[in-house]
């Protein structure tokens, strides 16, 4: 295995963290270390965490600091090779056969091949970052299919032969952990579990993402969101929700709403489940007052 100590000028987790900050992503030590190791060891990076903790954002930021194009493959149940890897352009092939007459044509030529995300990343490993998003949504068949790709970075097209990456591509996988991933998949990756950030860090993230939000607002929102995460809700607010809530409350405030009221009226951007809202509403006033204090 080739170990690259220095990737695009990044030679330590700290350097990576600094670069990520430049791409508007505040990474903690754990994720910076895991991402640096993934890049240096040439292994895929597997990020797991609750919805809305910034897994996809991390992948985007990594693409940005490396100056590479991000290719995103959204997983869903039943996703297969024709959606992830390549597909033949059947209508064109059919047309070519019909029009070809006596000429010989190669119907498995480049012109008939439709590139899908994984093949695209494999063919241009030095200028792309492949994001395989929400791998837990796909089924076991696809997970098994990924194993070969992630360990050898090669795929075989029966009609054309094997396509191999010239160098190891940068691959980021994310999972919401709605089901347990196969051990073999975890083993091939550098792994990181993204937890909710500390209140301090989250307030910084909110201010970085929503520039119109005042510091006091950001802190209040983060405190309130922290309390909400401790409640038995079916969908706890993530970082994205915290940012939205801070922005929405600021907007209402500028429109004339008073402070605690602005938070309360914009709760809909933080809690998006009717049952959760009903559960929390009797104590919402107290919760917001406490957070704003």
């Amino acid at each position: 295995m080739v170990v690259r100590r220095n990737i695009a000028g990044i030679d330590s987790p700290e350097a990576l963290e600094k670069a990520l900050r430049g791409a508007y992503y505040l990474a903690d030590e754990g994720i910076a270390t895991a991402a640096y190791l993934a890049l240096a060891l040439g292994k895929p990076l597997l990020l797991e965490g609750a919805p809305g903790v910034g897994k996809t954002e991390a992948a985007k930021a990594i693409g940005a600091i490396l100056g590479r194009r991000l290719i995103r493959l959204q997983c869903y149940e039943g996703i297969d090779a024709s959606a992830a890897l390549y597909e033949w352009n059947y209508p064109r092939q059919m047309l070519a056969i019909r029009q070809g007459g006596d000429e010989t044509i190669d119907i498995y030529g480049e012109t008939f091949l439709i590139e899908r995300p994984m093949l695209a990343a494999l063919r241009a490993p030095d200028s792309t970052v492949l994001l395989i998003d929400e791998i837990d949504r796909s089924d076991q068949e696809f997970e098994a299919f990924l194993l070969e790709f992630l360990s050898d970075f090669q795929i075989s097209i029966p009609e054309r032969g094997t396509v191999r990456a010239a160098e190891r591509p940068v691959v980021v996988l994310t999972s919401n952990r709605t089901r347990d991933l196969h051990e073999a998949l975890r083993r091939r990756c550098v792994y990181h579990w993204i937890a909710y950030p500390t209140a301090e860090r989250e307030a910084k993230i909110v201010m970085m993402r929503a520039s119109s939000v005042a510091e006091a607002t950001a802190r209040a929102v983060v405190a309130a969101v922290g309390k909400l995460r401790r409640e038995p809700l079916s969908k706890a607010p993530g970082i994205a929700e915290a940012v939205d809530w801070a922005e929405a409350a600021t907007l209402l405030n500028k429109g004339g709403a008073r402070w605690p009221d602005a938070f309360k009226r914009s709760i809909g951007v933080a809690l998006k489940d009717e049952e959760d809202l009903a559960f929390i509403s009797p104590r919402l006033d107290a919760l917001i007052a406490e957070a704003a204090a």
Binding site: L37, Y90, V190
Partner: protein, 372 residues
């Protein structure tokens, strides 16, 4: 990377750490060990924190065993004394909150509060050992018929079929080439069916004492026979035992589950247990579109309205909700207890759960019933 080929003495401590992890039930592959060594080299290492982070990233301990990993790390590298009261799989056990949900009592699924150490004092938990059980006909029937007779749903993958809504263009084109460019027929595709998710919630409280062991046996058989099964036990706590029961040998699996479940034969707060189940998004998702089977007598010691709300919520998420209670043995069962009356209208089937034969018969009949 010369030093790795020769394995200098300095590398020994890392190799032994991996061995220690393996001895404690972490699955670590040789390639992960290599990656760990490389990672440590890459990072310096400038201190123990670098080593810990490198291990987390490359050895990939599952998040719910993070606490155990950290403890082993401290013992191995920092020379800490062994810390008593380790209960692995912290995150798989949700301790139910005391009265007054939502005040400042410990948060759900928060590792810090579930070491189990404190709970031992408060709840007088017991562990149970199972004797070797003889094979029973009902379980044999379940193992044999589960793959074909459990509920299925339409999947998203396609398979070739005589008739179907889609054309298999790839295959059609191949045949066309073979026929000199003449399309003789369209190969058709239809959606393949796959096993529906099955969620088993087993009551292990005192009143279900006679049944809980049998029910776990049944769960083990079911897990072996078909994919997409999740099993939880509840009493004063909610425990996910799916992973423990996945062991192949039954005695071993039951012992592992028995070790994990610490609220045998205690009280029941079914409402709170189900609320807790629904409140962990990862768990709650298991119920979505699933055939949910609750094995419980519904003798609720807690708040009835909490039970009603939880069952209503569960029922909305589930494909079909069955409540199998030993009280329903015999035909013409009419619920008598307050709890069962309260939840009756949310439950699709309330049937006999008094014997394995009855439970198995109900499960295998689920496919004939429609979504509710």
């Amino acid at each position: 990377m010369n030093e790795e080929h020769q394995l200098p003495r300095a590398a020994r401590i890392f190799i032994t750490f991996v061995a220690l992890l393996r001895a404690n039930g972490f699955a670590v592959a040789p390639e992960q060990t290599t990656a760990f060594l490389e990672a440590v080299t890459l990072l310096g290492p400038r201190g123990p924190e670098d080593i810990r982070q490198a291990g987390l990233a490359t050895l990939a301990p599952p998040p719910e065993r993070r606490a155990t990993y950290d403890m082993l790390f401290r013992i191995h590298f920092l020379g800490d004394e062994e810390i008593a009261g380790d209960r692995s799989d912290d995150e798989e056990i949700v301790r139910l909150q005391e009265e007054g949900r939502g005040d400042d009592s410990p948060p759900l699924a928060d590792e810090a509060n579930e070491s189990g150490e404190m709970a031992v004092r408060a709840e007088a938990l017991t562990e149970r050992r199972f004797g070797p059980g003889g094979p029973s006909d009902a379980l044999h029937r379940l193992a044999r018929e589960a793959p074909t007779r459990l509920p299925r749903r339409r999947g998203h993958r396609r398979m070739r079929a005589r008739r179907g809504p889609w054309a298999d263009l790839r295959q059609t084109l191949r045949e066309t080439v073979r026929n000199d460019g003449e399309v003789m027929r369209l190969v058709r595709l239809k959606r393949r069916s796959r096993p529906r998710k099955l969620l088993l919630l087993i009551d292990v409280s005192g009143s279900m004492k006679a049944r809980s062991e049998e029910n776990l046996r049944l769960a083990h058989t079911l897990l072996r026979a078909t994919p997409n099964v999740e099993v939880f036990t509840f009493g004063t706590r909610l425990t996910r035992v799916t992973r423990a029961l996945q062991l192949k040998r039954r005695e071993q699996a039951l012992a592992a589950a028995a070790h994990l479940v610490s609220d045998w034969d205690g009280g029941t707060r079914i409402g709170d247990a189900l609320q807790a189940f629904l409140a962990v998004p990862r768990f709650g998702g298991y119920a979505r579109g699933a055939a949910v089977v609750v094995l419980s007598d519904g003798l609720e010691r807690g708040d009835l309205s909490a039970l009603r709300d939880a069952v209503a919520k569960l029922s909305r998420r589930a494909w079909r909700l069955s409540w199998l209670t030993p009280l329903a043995a015999g035909a013409g069962f009419v619920p008598q207890t307050e709890a069962l009356i309260a939840i009756r209208r949310f439950v699709d089937d309330m049937a006999d759960g008094g014997s394995s034969v009855a439970v198995v018969a109900h499960m295998l009949s689920l496919r004939q019933r429609r979504a509710a």
